[in-house]
Amino acid sequence: MAPVIQFKDVVKIYPLKSGDVTALDHISFEVDHGEFISIMGPSGSGKSTLLTMMGCLDTPTNGDIFISGLRTRDMSDTELTNLRRDRIGFIFQYFNLFPLLNIIENVSFPQMLKSQKQVDEKKTIEKLRAVQLDERLYTHTPLELSGGQQQRVAIARALINEPDILLCDEPTGNLDSKTGASIMDLMTDLHKNGSTIIVVTHDPHVAEYTERTIRIVDGRIAS
């Protein structure tokens, strides 16, 4: 089976007036199905750039990225958007839920994008139960929930289209340690159920939950 993610000699250069900045410098690695990986590195090391590349939000200057065997370089914006919708689930540090929509609608949103018709609300409720969110909160708006509850909703939203990969950008960075630990326990449960999870973090406690850690320094894989 092809790796879920494959980076082949990926280079990303940001052209700036003050001179080019190399964010990723000949990066190559693979992520297999069912892996639970953390990406660590100091600030400005290139880990966020790596995450945006894996999430098909940006394209490399050189090299190739394969997501579920598909080379992203050849894809149009529409195809990349569909890839993000169908194969990738995003979890952000600041939850990034839609404040105008209630919890059910937030979780159903990617499903609506995919199905182009009415959503399967049973599936939405199933995902919300999987992230252990109190049912009384389903019709609330995100701003009425705590940080931990919002992150659970964000995880349910990321899972709704059964993606191949979960990309998490500092998922506990905006939570207290106890709530952060419960979120990481939830991630561990998802991993045990077969999800491929990649967590970008600078927190060694978070990295302890993962099976493998990729360390980035100055745009290169250090270990």
Partner: protein
């Protein structure tokens, strides 16, 4: 799929209710301005149309009043048109040229008269027409019948109203009644402004009575009215000019094609209507700028949201649709309310400027309302296209990082 973006657009309008209401108000004012001005122009046009009697099929021949006019008063040297006449020879030529159309010779004079006994002296126009042609020129009577003898006359509706004249009333002609007495056989239906003869405040008598009373001759015709039933008025006009104005330097007659004149009047009113509607359109453009402004604000406030949407798989066209829906909701709501209110606006403007509101609820008025509403919706959507396009084309990474 559009359901969720439609829902987001609605909720965004709701949470920015004041801003959205003000934008709607701008569109509403624009629609009211356009539709009201259109209704006013249309009412003006209809008002004039109703004042003009059905003379679209007439060609009017009058003595040429420029240099070299002819006739007893104008022998060869200008003079005012009031003392210029067409001769019987001119009339015969016209009659032959326009056959089988009817050519009606018209004599006209102002005269003193009295209605009944002991009434005040009145001065009014009197028309003398051949008895057989009166029916051809004056098709509708309000009351009574056409004159059957020389001592009978028709009176205009305004004359009848102003002087309390009824069928059977007697009118004495002349300061001292020196021209005799006429019995009113009928009242002519209101004709309004007309190109041939203006009968509303006048009397119409038989030509025989006119000639006997005033001593006029066959060569003192004021005009000839050709009622065109066969062919086009423009062709009849050309034929008469060819026959009677052979010498281009010394013309005999002036020929007026009433249909062409009417068209020209309507075209002028059309231009006036377009002009006043365009003035209303300026307020719509201002409203459009306000829509553009609030849509740009909406995009700027929601950059992060757009970034999230794009990162989880929302297509550019779906992001665009969200902003277009928002503008469409504002446009449709503002325009429809404006459309309803514009009947009121048109009513007020027409009442103030024309003194009548009888032409408000016509199909043409409805057309201007539909035009205003459509323009309002269109301008809202057009003004939202660029902000929506800009939102859709934001870089997902930059949008996500936006604070």
């Amino acid at each position: 799929m559009s359901g969720i973006f439609w829902e987001i657009s609605k909720r965004n309008i709701r949470i920015h209710m004041l801003r959205s209401t003000l934008a709607m108000l701008g569109i509403l004012i624009g629609v009211v301005a356009i539709a009201s001005m259109g209704i006013l122009g249309n009412s003006m046009s209809l008002s004039i149309s109703s004042s003009l009697s059905s003379v679209g099929d007439s060609v009017i021949v009058t003595p040429y009043s420029g240099s070299g006019g002819m006739g007893p008063g104008g022998g060869g040297g200008g003079g005012s048109s009031s003392d210029l006449y067409l001769t019987d020879q001119n009339y015969q030529k016209i009659k032959r040229a326009v056959a089988p159309n009817v050519a009606i010779p018209v004599m006209q004079k102002s005269a003193h008269m009295k209605v009944g006994v002991g009434s005040d002296d009145i001065v009014a126009s009197m028309y003398g027409l051949p008895q057989d042609d009166i029916k051809d020129l004056l098709k509708d009577l309000e009351a009574g019948d056409y004159p059957s003898g020389n001592s009978a006359c028709l009176v205009g509706s305004t004359f009848a109203k102003d002087h309390n004249v009824k069928v059977g009333s007697r009118i004495t002609i002349g300061k001292d009644g020196e021209y005799g007495t006429l019995r009113v056989s009928g009242i002519i239906k209101e004709r309004g402004m007309s190109f041939d003869i203006s009968t509303d405040s006048a009397l119409v008598v038989t030509r025989d009575w006119f000639e006997n009373a005033f001593g006029t001759t066959d060569d003192e015709l004021n005009e000839v009215v050709v009622k065109v039933s066969d062919g086009d008025t423009a062709d009849v006009k050309t034929t008469i000019e060819k026959q009677l104005n052979r010498n281009t330097k010394d013309k005999t007659v002036s020929v007026t094609d009433s249909k062409a004149t009417l068209s020209s009047i309507y075209a002028t009113f059309g231009t006036v209507t377009t002009f006043v509607t365009a003035i209303g359109g300026i307020s719509m453009l201002v409203a459009g700028v306000s829509i553009f402004n609030i849509m740009m604000m909406s995009v700027n406030e929601r950059i992060k949201e757009i970034g999230i949407m794009r990162s989880i798989g929302t297509q550019k066209k779906e992001v665009m649709s969200m902003f277009i829906y928002e503008a469409a909701i504002i446009g449709v709501t503002g325009s429809l309310i404006g459309g309803l209110l514009s009947f009121g606006g048109g009513y007020l403007v027409s009442a103030m400027m024309l003194g009548t509101t009888e032409y408000i609820f016509t199909l043409a008025s409805l057309y201007y309302v539909v035009e205003g509403v459509s323009f309002g919706i269109l301008i809202c959507i057009v003004c939202a296209v660029y902000p929506a396009w800009q939102a859709a084309n934001l870089s997902p990474i930059d949008a996500l990082r936006h604070e």
